[in-house]
Amino acid sequence: MPLVPAVTDLDKLKGHPAVARLLASNSVTVEGAKFDRDEMTVYVHRSSIREACALLREDPGCPFNYLSDVTCVDWYPQEPRFEVVYHLLSIPNKERVRLKVRLPGDSPALESITPLWPAANYFEREVFDLFGIRFNGHPYLRRLLMPENWEGHPLRKDYPVEGYR
């Protein structure tokens, strides 16, 4: 399977159920999309992540009813610094889609999707713990893996691999 260049033209990607559904809605701001290595990525504005997830979950044609994963990538020193990454799976249609939200490095925060999927509870706590991203509306946003009194967020790129000594 030789590599083919990624498709980033929104018009060409309209055929994908998730992209079509998100573009048709007025409440969700789609910032872009990318089809690369058989995987679909949709960039969503930070204010509309919860609506985007709710829309995809309730899609009658292809319901993305399962939240696989929530994680984050730190692009320090670039701005916008953080990318929060959501992986959704449609159990009936066996289809995956990746949602991405770009966040600035300065006090990054976005809406929690735990009210939609309780599965996001631990995932978002982990991202909060290791990247320091706040999820507004999360019922219990505390450190998950690191000790409560830990300083800093270890998976940020400006945090040394061997820790602070």
Binding site: T71, T114, L145
Partner: protein, 401 residues
């Protein structure tokens, strides 16, 4: 979503209730899981898992290693199914590279993976039965597990931390006599499964401890992110091996056991049936094992044969370059999920075009499955908590990473 309720004031219980700490050194918590229970007599009012005792920062370590150096780290995440983690990682990197893997390597990967599944399920069955009080099953299960570990040792030199898969294929050609030993094992294994089932499936004590215990509906299981046998035990028919095949699984015929009840017994039945199905897949892999190379034809990625390295200048140069400066992976990102014995194991690998991964994230099936614990246990007895923890089959190394 009552079970989502945060336990912020656990230090002070309500009237009538007390706080009980279970773990992190409790034998039935399968590692270092700490569970904080608020109990009213024998009844569990609230339950909160507390994790992080085994956090080693593997994801951070990966960012400082070359792509090929990450493979041994993936063993250490889930020490009961190292090969599944190896496979998931190498598949993700191969997808980033656009590498084609020769059929023999793919079939060997499937074979080793199903042996790993049997191995992992045997440890689960033994310890789960031990928790509930069925002592002897443990000894039976570990007898067969020992055989599998010997097979792993034969093929990779290691019993547990195998690191047998490489980006682009396998580490070594399987040794002479390996397939005969596997054939020998799978010929007698179904009768061993009968033995376990004789001890447990119809056993009235086992049924009393597991039937109707820690029940969870399909809707709750999906909403809470359950996967694998934990999800199939609630009647959701999904198996990534069949539905989104990888590594040549589309060539194999097998049934996906699903049970409708959603209780501990249903999850037990699913896993025991999976033992038989995995055995059948190993049989198919043996029968149809193709001939050919075990490594992809990609000299810049795959290490050359030892013999070539010592006799050919070019192979020596490639070897030196791969070891000292790694190989660059084209920019991009990939999410590769495989069906691990515990559920959906996913690797999200981001490349920035250099020889070291920019970000490696492991989607842990256990972490998501652990979130089911409050929904399963609240309102039930303490003894059922032990049964419930056993039935979701957690490995703390994978949860904490």
């Amino acid at each position: 979503m009552g079970h989502l309720n945060p336990i912020a004031s656990l230090e002070v219980g309500q009237d009538r209730t007390m706080i009980l700490n279970m773990g992190p050194q409790h034998p039935s918590t399968h590692g270092v899981l700490r569970v904080i229970l608020e109990i009213d007599g024998e009844n569990v009012v609230r339950i909160m898992p507390d994790i992080g005792y085994l956090h080693t920062g593997i994801e951070k370590t990966c960012e400082a290693k070359f792509y090929q150096q990450v493979v041994p780290l993936t063993d250490r995440i889930d020490y009961l199914c190292p090969l599944t983690n190896n496979l998931c990682y190498v598949l993700a990197v191969e997808k980033l590279l656009g590498l084609e893997i020769p059929p023999k390597a793919q079939w060997m990967r499937v074979l080793m993976n199903e042996l790993t599944r049997i191995n992992s399920h045997l440890v689960w069955l033994g310890t789960h039965a031990l928790d509930i009080g069925a002592m002897s099953v443990f000894l039976y299960c570990f007898r067969e597990r020992e055989d599998i570990l010997r097979l792993f040792e034969m093929v990779s030199g290691q019993r547990m931390m195998t690191s047998y898969f490489r980006i682009g294929g396998l580490a070594l050609e399987p040794p002479l006599g390996f397939f005969d030993r596997v054939r020998d094992f799978i010929a007698r294994f179904p009768s061993k499964v009968d033995e376990y089932e004789n001890l447990l499936t119809g056993n009235p004590i086992w049924m009393m401890r597991t039937k109707g215990v820690a029940r969870i509906t399909a809707e709750d299981a999906i909403a809470l992110g359950a996967s694998g046998p934990t999800l199939r035990g609630s009647g959701v028919d999904i198996d990534l091996r069949r539905d989104m095949p990888y590594s040549g699984y589309e060539n194999f015929k097998f049934k996906v056991p699903v049970s409708q009840d959603g209780d501990v017994f249903a999850r037990y039945l699913c896993r025991v049936q999976e033992l038989r199905e995995s055995n059948a897949i190993v049989q198919q892999a043996l029968d149809g094992m193709p001939e050919g190379p075990i490594k992809a034809d990609a000299p810049k990625v795959v290490l050359p044969d030892r013999e070539k390295m010592k006799t050919q200048m070019e192979a020596l140069i490639y070897h030196f370059k791969i070891i000292t400066e790694g190989f660059a992976v084209p920019e991009g990102e990939v999410y590769q999920a495989v069906e691990s014995p515990r559920g959906e194991m996913g690797y999200y690998v981001v490349s920035d075009g250099t020889a070291k991964p920019y970000r490696v994230h492991m989607r842990s099936a256990c972490l998501a499955n652990l979130q089911l614990l409050p929904a399963m246990c609240e309102g039930r007895l303490i003894a059922d908590v032990v049964a419930a923890i056993g039935s979701i089959d957690i490995v703390l190394g994978e949860i904490d990473r």
